[in-house]
Symmetry: C2
């Protein structure tokens, strides 16, 4: 497409905003191998964290914290722990799957620009958090909504995000001096990337295929389907 | 601003896409009282569910299901249960807070166009879900990421979304024939709205104020701060 000869900026239409959101949402990837290690502009990082902090939360509790980890020693210690957990998982697999798993990268801890560790603080807004009395995990759910906001904002800013989940929560607590009452929810590898893959890594290598959206839609009540 | 006299459509720039995402992300609200009950165009609903289904998931397990509830009898039964749970929560509050809570609407179950119940299926992609061996809740986290995608897409489509969490999971399971192995994560009220409030309801009525993003940021390790 060629831009029209049109010198001034016109306001964005609703359909353009919608298209912009969907573009980001479908382009987003869980990033492992594409980090360049280049710096993140301060303003972009601030916008991304502000986006996370704008997430909905049960009872407006905003029960998240974000720990930015740049220190190399800390990151190496975490990477070593993740490698050990990778081995634990691999040992449980059948031979064919283990061979396939061997080719899958599960983290970009050192190659990314920084780690953002996201935690859940159940005491935030206590004792009576509106909307949490019947579902204790509702606070934990809020933290995940913030993570997805962060992920989409980072994608829009042309940054990659990779969620590492091969770790024991207690190990991460000790490493970052996180009090026992808080729960670490994610270590996110964040930073500029050479590009984002068109397909999820796990689909590309044949670990698992995506299922059609129709398979997860139900009307009026849940209906059992063949296993997916 | 006035649109320039410019007849053709030009491609969206990266900065426009970024601006579009942030606009949606900060405009999003947890909607209670603004539903009109008007129909949702089928294409818009499909785009919103496709957006949810494009969320990241641990081991590409895509462990979510979406149950669309339009039936009036089902919705009334759920609304009655939510009202009872509202009473349970209110009974725990101190008098001043109880009075304030009395003025807060916690659901738009009947006024919204439909309910979307989102569930977590831990068997999806089992037995060896990549990335879940050390953190069993990682599958539940994936479901929340899908919910935030849904919420943002709906906001872009000018639909409101309200997350209802005043319910017991077993009651919702029975109501929608959800098997015991699945976990209901949310009842989302979805539909066209008269508008979205500029501030969260709970902030507007003085239940709780938002905290500055700087208060939840840490560097290299977690640092205790005064309670928030």
């Amino acid at each position: 497409m060629v831009a029209p000869a049109c010198g001034t900026i016109r306001p964005m239409s609703i359909s353009e905003r919608v298209a912009g959101l969907y573009e980001v949402l479908h382009r987003r990837r869980d990033t492992r191998g594409e980090f360049t290690g280049a710096p993140i502009p301060d303003e972009a990082l601030h916008r991304v964290l502000t986006a996370a902090h704008a997430a909905p939360s049960v009872g407006l509790s905003q029960p998240w914290d974000f720990i930015l980890v740049r220190d190399d020693t800390t990151r190496r210690a975490f990477r070593d722990h993740v490698n050990a957990e990778r081995g634990t998982f691999a040992a449980r697999l059948e031979p064919g799957r283990a061979e396939l798993f061997d080719r899958i990268k599960v983290e970009g801890i050192l190659e990314s620009t920084l780690g953002i560790v996201v935690t859940y603080d159940p005491d935030r807004g206590s004792p009576a958090v509106l909307g949490r009395h019947a579902i204790a995990d509702a606070g934990l759910y809020s933290v995940c909504l913030a993570i997805q906001n962060l992920w989409l904002a980072a994608t829009a800013e042309d940054l990659g995000v990779g969620w590492v989940s091969f770790y024991r929560e207690d190990v991460l607590r000790r490493l970052l001096h996180i009090p026992a009452r808080l729960r670490p929810v994610a270590w996110l590898c964040v930073g500029p990337v050479a590009g984002l893959p068109g397909k999820p890594d796990l689909e590309r290598v044949g670990w698992r295929t995506r299922i059609p959206v129709e398979d997860v839609m139900h009307h009026e009540r849940y209906r059992e389907r063949s296993s997916r």
